[in-house]
Structure formats: C-alpha cells, structure tokens
Symmetry: C2
Subunit: 627 residues, 2 copies
Amino acid sequence: MKAIPFTAVTIDDRFWSPRQETNSKETIPHELEQCRITGRISNFAKAAGSMEGNFEGIFFNDSDVHKLVEAAAYTLHSHPNPDWEDELDEVIDTIAKSQQNDGYLNSYFTLVEPEKKWQNLGMMHELYCAGHLFEAAVAHHQATGKQNLLDVACNFADLIDNTFGEDKRDGLPGHQGIELALVKLARVTGENRYMSLAEYFVTKRGHRPTVFEQELENPDLPGGLGAYKHHYTRDEKYDGTYSQAHLPIQEQTECVGHAVRAMYLYAGAADIAAETGDAEITQALDALWQNVEKRLYITGGVGPSGHNEGFTQDYELPNFSAYAETCASIGLIFWAHRMFLLKGESRFMDVLETALYNGALSGVSLEGTDFFYQNPLASRGGRQRNPWFGCACCPPNIARLLGSLGQYIYAIDDNDLWVNLYVGGNTETTIADDVSLRITQDTDYPWSGDVKLTVNPEKSAKFNLNLRIPGWCKEFDVSINGETINVKDTKNGYLSIGRTWQTNDSVELKLDMSVDRIYAHPNVRDNLGRSALRRGPLVYCFEDVDNPDGAFETLTLAENGKVEVVYDSETLGGITLIRGTGTIYDIKEWGNNLYLSEPSAKQLPVTAIPYYAWCNRGAGQMAVWVF
Amino acid sequence: MKAIPFTAVTIDDRFWSPRQETNSKETIPHELEQCRITGRISNFAKAAGSMEGNFEGIFFNDSDVHKLVEAAAYTLHSHPNPDWEDELDEVIDTIAKSQQNDGYLNSYFTLVEPEKKWQNLGMMHELYCAGHLFEAAVAHHQATGKQNLLDVACNFADLIDNTFGEDKRDGLPGHQGIELALVKLARVTGENRYMSLAEYFVTKRGHRPTVFEQELENPDLPGGLGAYKHHYTRDEKYDGTYSQAHLPIQEQTECVGHAVRAMYLYAGAADIAAETGDAEITQALDALWQNVEKRLYITGGVGPSGHNEGFTQDYELPNFSAYAETCASIGLIFWAHRMFLLKGESRFMDVLETALYNGALSGVSLEGTDFFYQNPLASRGGRQRNPWFGCACCPPNIARLLGSLGQYIYAIDDNDLWVNLYVGGNTETTIADDVSLRITQDTDYPWSGDVKLTVNPEKSAKFNLNLRIPGWCKEFDVSINGETINVKDTKNGYLSIGRTWQTNDSVELKLDMSVDRIYAHPNVRDNLGRSALRRGPLVYCFEDVDNPDGAFETLTLAENGKVEVVYDSETLGGITLIRGTGTIYDIKEWGNNLYLSEPSAKQLPVTAIPYYAWCNRGAGQMAVWVF
C-alpha cells in the first residue's frame, strides 16, 4: 500500500481549496517576507559569500526557510503564484550557493562556528536542518521535475552518509526529522544508502551511552549548554527522554519528551518498519500509538506541557495551559499517515483527520498570516495568534501541511483503493494491472457527511474501493449508481466495495453527522463533569463573541437540550454553527457570598463554532469543554 | 458584651462531652508523652540547669509545651484527670525554673544562643513562644486559681514591656500570637501595661522599614536565614506580607501571607479594637473579614497553599492540595469569636461554627491521638493523620480548642444574653442588675436542630435572650413554655426574645436541618460544576470505604435525587449519614478510549459522612465536592 502522491491529486473542494489559495496568496508570501526581514534568507547569502554580515537569529533558522521552500513547492503544483515563483527560485539558488565544497550546508555553522561542525549533534540541529532541506528538495523535484535543489540535498546527504554510520562516526540527530526526510530522498532518488542511513538513525538511537552524552565531555561545545536545559535532569545528568534517546526504539512504549521530536521519530520509524518489515519496531509503534491515545487532546493536540514542549503522563490534559504545539499536531499527522500505510487501519486516519481539522488547522488564522504556536483548549482572553515567532517552526509547517494535503486523501495497492479523506477533487492513478483510474469526489465535507464519488476506470476493472467510515460516524448509507447497498460491515474501519467497476460508476456515501457530546475518560481530571461538542471531524468551542451573556468555562449545556446545526456563510469564512441552550450562574447573585445553596441558573442561547476558527475575531474567552 | 468564660460553663453534651473526655484521657497524655520523648520538656529542664544536654528540636518547640499546658489547664476544669495532673504540675514547675533572673524564658536561646536574645525577632519566635506561655498561665490561673505560672508569665511580660515599646526598643513578633495573649494577661491581672504593649504590637506592625528589615543588617543573626525563605521575595528583599508586616493594620484589606500568623494578628487586633474603640482598626478588620470570606474553604479552612502555609488570592481554593492548616482554622475561630464580640453579629459565629465542626475538628482523629496538619478537601488516598509532627503546632492547638470550648457558647451584656453555639450543658452568670441566671441546654446538635433551653433566673428578670439563627438555617420555630411565638425577624442574625423571664422558663428552638447542596462561587475554578452536601453546621464528604463502587471525585449526585438522613450509632462514634443515589462512569467501558460520546453512567447508592470524621478508617479516597 502506498499513498497517492500530491502530484496525482487535484483538490477542488469548498473547504480546502480556499485554504490552499490563502496559503498561496497570503501565507507563503507573508512567510517569505518574514524570512527575509528576519535575516533567515540572507544568512544563506552570507554563508555563500555573496553578502556581508553576521549570522542572524537562532542557529536552526535555516530549517524555517527549508520548510517554506517545501510549502511553496507543493503549492506550485496546486496553486502556482507568479508573485513569488521567481523569489522562490532565488531562495533556492541562494541556499544552493551556500553549500560548502564538501556538501555541508548550514548557514549557522558556516558563518559562526565553522570549525565545530558535527560536534554538538544533541543540541545544534545540523541534522534536523539537513532533514528539512531534503524534504524541500524532494517536494521541489516532485512538483517541478527540477533537479537543482535535489542535487544539493543529495550532495549533503552523501556527506552525512560518509560521516556517520556503522564503522564510521557515531551520530544521531538531537532533534529528529532527518529520518523521514532520508526515506523520502531514498524513494525519489532510488538511492538505497539514504534509506540505510535513515534506518541507522532510527535504530541507533537510545543505545546508552548515547553520542549526546559523549559530546558533553567536550569543554568547547559549539552553541554551549545554556538554552537546552531540558536535556538534563535536575541533577545535571543527560536526560535522554527529552529527545527520545532514552531507549532503543524497539523498547519504547511511552510517548515522552519533546512532542515534535517524538512525532518525527515515530513517523521515521514507521517508514523504516514499512520498508524493512521490522516486527519489533512495528510492535513498539503499536505500543506508542496506544500510549499517545491516552495523551491526546480531543483536538488532535499532543504534548500538554510548555515546560518540555512535550509529554507528561497519561490523561494529563489541562485545557488552559495546553501547549499542544501546532508542529506537534502536524507531526502527529505525519506519524498517523505512516501508521495507516503500515497497518491499513482507519483508526490512524481518524486521528489524522482530527488533528488536521482541529489542532493543526487552528495554527493558522483564516487570513493566513497569523499563527498559533500553542493551541490551548480554553482561554480567559489572553491568547492571540502572532504573525511570526523568534522560533518560527510552526508557520512554515502549517504552510507545508496545507500545500501537501493531497497526499493524505488516497492510498493504493494492486487491487485496492482507499479513500481516507473526503475532500472534493480527483486523483488519477492506475489499478488492477495498470488500468487507468480517475476518482472524483464531490462533497461539502466537513459541513455535510454526503460524499459523491465517481469511479472512472478507463475500462471495466475489478478492484476494491475502500471507503473510510470515520470513527465518529455511527450510521452511514452507501449507494452505487443510485442503488443502496446493504453491506454495513467494515473491516479495519473501511467499507470495502469489491466489484467490477465501470466507467463513470457513481458512489454516494452518506455519513451521519449528528452533533455528539463527547466525554473524556474520568482520569482526565480537567474535564471531569464536562463535555465537548463534536460534529463530524470538527471539535467545537464556545467563544464569548458569540455568547455575550457568558458561555465560558462555567457554561452548562442543557442536559437533553436539542441543538440546531446552521450553516452560516457570513461568519468566519462560512461555517456550520451549533446552536443550543445552556445555563450559567448569575454571578451578581453571589455578591460577596462564596457558597450558595440554591444559586439560580440563567438560561441562555449558546452558539459554538469549529475550534479551528477560534480567535479570528480578536482575543477573547474560549472553552472547548463545558458542563 | 463579653464572652462567658469556660470556668462558668459546664458542657454536658452528647457530641462534645465524649470529645472533651477523649481530649483528657487520650490526647493530653499522648501529647505529654510526645513532648517528653522529643525533648520538648527536657529542654526546659536543661535551661533550668537541672539536666545536662543540648537543646533538642526546633527553636520554637517551647510553644508546643505551653499550648499543651493551656489545654490541660482548661481540661482540669471540665475533665480533670489524675493520670496527668501531677505531671502537669511538674512540667509547669520545670518551665518556671527555666526562667532567667531577668524574667526571660525561652529554652532555645537560653541553651543555644544566650547572647543573641531579641536579635532576630522576625524569625526566631521568642515573642510567639512568650505569648503561648502567657495564654497557658492565664488558663492555668483561671482553671485552678493558682498563681505560680501566672507569676512566671508576668515576670516575662514585664521584661518584654521594659524592653520594647515607644521610647524603648522597636520590637515586633515575627510570628504573631503575643498580642491576644497580652490582652488575656492584662484582663486577668488588671495590669494595663500589658494591654498597652499588645496595642503597641498591633499598631506598630507594618510601618516601614520594619524592625525585621533592620535586623537583617546584622551579619551574625541568630538562627540564620535559611529556613525562612518565605520572608523574602525572589529578589532577596524582605517580604512583609508573609507575616502581615507589609502595611499598618489600619490599612490592611487583604488576607495575605502565613495564615496562622494572619489569624492571630487579626484576633489580637479585634481585641484591641474592642478595648480601645479604634474605628480605623475595626474598619480594617471588616475589610479583612470580607476578604477572608473570598478565601475560605467550605470547611472553615483558610490558607490554601503549602508554599507559604497561607493565603494566595480570592477564590483560589484547590481541593486536593488544600493546605488549610488545622492551626489556621483554630486561629480563624479566635478571630471570628472576637469579631462577634466586637460587632455582635452572628455571621462571625457562623464561620466559627463551620471551622469548629469541620476544618478544625478534622485535625484530630476520633481516638484523639492522630492529627492532621493539613486538611485537604479531597484525597486520592495518600493522606493520613500522624501521631506527631516535627513542627507540632497543631496537636496541642486542637487540644486547647477542645478544652476551652465552653467560652464560645455564650456571651453576655447588661441586659442581653447571647446563645451562640448549641451545646448541651449549662452556664451560670448574672444579668439585669446582678440577678443570678442559669441557662441549661439540652440538644442532639449537630445531629438534630432541636434545642431545649431552660432559662432559670433566681428571680424574675427582664432581659433579652438572643438565640443565634445559624446562616445555614432557612426555617425555624421557637416556643416558650410550650407556646409557639410568632417573632421570626432576626437582628444581626439573632432571634432576640425580650421578656421578663421567670424561674424555669422553657424555650424550645427547632432549627430546620435539611440537607443542602452547596455550590461554590463560579470563580472557584476547582469547584466548577460541583456541589457539596451540608447539613446543619456539618459539611459532608464521600469516602471510598462507604462507597466501594466508587464515589470519589468522579461521582455525580442524582440531580433531584432524594437524600435520606440516618443516624448510625455504630459508625465513627455515632454519626448522621447522608444516603442518596448517584452515578459514576464505568471506567472499564472506556478501555483504551480517551473520548466517548455516550458513556454509560452506572447508578449506585452513595453514603456521605461528616467531613470531620474522614480518614478514621485507614487512608482512602475522599471528596467533599462532587458533581
């Protein structure tokens, strides 16, 4: 089974196409400008010797530019934009020129500590930045067919491969990401060494003492120690859990440490497991997945703590202080996608869909130029998206996610086609011994659960059309060419329709999209007594702008109250609102009383909006979980 | 208005008499033994020169012995016990012998830092220990008529008065307590200098720079700085709020810092306000009271934070981590009593009663030999009373509270008698131009709201009998000599019955004691969505021992469910149980799911017990606030 790549998918969707267009028209030029004015692009020019001056910003800032190039490359395919295409080529050219003769490419080390390359892998992100360069190069090559950035990437990958590995230097990335990037590079180039190097990075990790501990004996460590205290325990020992280097991947069962690093590692490990069939890694990933499902916000956010930007313990999911970094939800999407490809089960796509429509999408404003780094599930009014960050990992990450959305929709095997996401548009592929096949989707998802698929093989062909029945969906109907089919049994979460398909066969899927009140496991202390509204893949929240009488954390939804679902094309770019009734205490009644025996509850109409759209009308109070 | 002293009150009550007996038979001998085996008593012998050896324990350990002497003195009046009376006399004798020629009495300084007396008032508790000595001496004199300990106290008080004050040395207690003690000493001796010194300590406090700041310039400070970091802000400046020395008392409006210190200060200030009629202090105390009512656990606990053993901010009342020190609830009782005496309003007695029957009483086990220092409102099973503590302020404090209970029941003025607590027994006093009066109460309070009072003046006398109608009581009936009276208007929270009373007049008061579900102000985040059960003065809680199917923090009480009130003489020394129905989630149903849309609620019978009685059947889970 493999994913149908973004290059073979056209998105023409009422929900996603405007977002991809905003990504092209607003987000990418905005981020290019931010990278320019913060010196991120000129760092490469300086490293190339074509510009004077010192390195600016944080040592891993190269990675933001690489991610942005990747985002722009995807977008060249779906929403090309002459306004920035020349600039993109210039940026790529500048990056390429900053490459050293031996293939090395990192503007910080080239400019600041040229003699200290590869000496502080644990903290200085050289391999992480390399990974993002590789991903950018692969996307650019796939989108354009051009070779220039791919050659740069391969030169650097060759240097890394010649430097690290069995019988060479021990080496590991302090911040993961290069693993899945090398897998992509191997697949697009056919170069098996890159795959082996990815496997080395995945499987070498966690054997003690780690290379990171050994590095610490260097009194002249590049970058110093200061900023990276999370690598250390309170007694100043190296703490492998922060970057998941505490145990070999095969022995890991608990999601620990920095959430983005964890997600990127697990994604890379899933790639390696799929490639090598390694049962131990697969088993570990199963355990890690089971564990992440105890540490997952309803929005698809992971990593509740700002302290380590990461995981804490099972069921610890505070709402107000939720860190739930945008990048971590994006990393979860990467991991979930690969788990699906590894195991063929829709439960992984359920999590992917949740993160996509909620915890990741909330990371960017509707206008496309303001970003959340953290994605709390409740706010007393002090949260706001920002146009940029000193550590700006999230903005280009959400841009590349939106640009590459096509790759998550379909997967294919010899005689099976999986439809994982319901997104309008089409894909062209071949199936059943090279029969050309075009699948078209027409849907108002996520506002409606009705999806019309046209299955259009060039000639009649026998294969299984596997329609994902989302975990949130309790009832569904399917008809083929207008005739309802009775099959309701799903396998691995898919309704598998095996038949000989004819040109222009029509499949209509109706997923019941009722509003559900969702309750969290009683061990989630912060949600005791509370529930959240979910409809389809969307988690809802209450903002005070819609609920001026107060619908914040003290709101109680009517117990058996009816809710009304209303599409409002005027609000927040067009959303389906959930309207109902609730009660709040009349705070005035309390006066100076701290305790009352019969406080009166004031009934009021309440309105919920999709979580992803919150904080687009100024900062305000918000709550996902209410009573 | 003044309180009728414990010496004029006999308690013969089904609830309190067994507790006073346990106090005499178990608690006092247990604490005497603890004071002996921990060196607290021999510290005095060493200071007296009658024993060899070094000072043992913490520098303020004298105060525990003083408080225990005070407790024993009260108990000599109500429940004398030959088992420890001789030992008490010996202890008093040992304390007396440790007094220095100049009147100084503090075994730590005498033994350890004799040259450094009075040099670290901010931290070394000399004046605090002196205050507890004075309270012990007053109680001992009142209970026995003996002069020996009172003379010791006066000698020491004279030294302090000669040392500190206007035109003498600046001085203040770092830990308050001596203020209210000097007031007692002044009243029992008639010595006005002690009252003036108390006023000096109350009114001198909070003028900057404080004596405490000046002391810090001493490089050779006794005791050192280490253990008392709470006196300092993060930037190492002296922080007056911890011991309420940040502002003059007249300007204080917010309860801050260490809760016990605060309570003792406010109590002392109320004494001074009553004595001097100082309107500014009274106004400040009104503001402080209004503030404490935003920082008060439903149990009468104050000071939610273990960090400073004290106050944080309005409405911050976490349940699991509630510090709510036993001593702080006792201190609140002292303050509330004096506020009542100052203002004649029953709302102060409401708080006193709440603290007495809940947050203070929970501080001692039913057996009388195990103690809570902290009184949380919820536990996951890790809390247990202890037989003693390194810092053992709470055990003798609860012992002296129980011993001195009589003084809180009645108050008197020329033509008014106030009945504040409904406790079986009697008092003998005089009223209305020296008419002897005996009031007898017969009641099953707090299990029943029925109270029978016999008003027995030696001859007919006109005065007002002021019966406190507790704040928790929504309906009541009163009859006199079998005839219901129609007066229902209360004034200052009292039903005032003014008439010419005859010998053996009988008053029957029926206070409706329904079970109330109490809700906390919506700003109390930890109680959002939750309610607690209260019946009469008693707050209830759920323990897992009574609710084996789970009735912990996830319990939801049936919305309109009936509750049944059952007196159970076999359980916990005889208590009224509240039984009802509730629901809990079936945790097994969740399995590996973190979120469910329709979790089933399991109905179950639930049983609540009075909060004071929790944790008397082993450590277990407990919750006051449930859904």
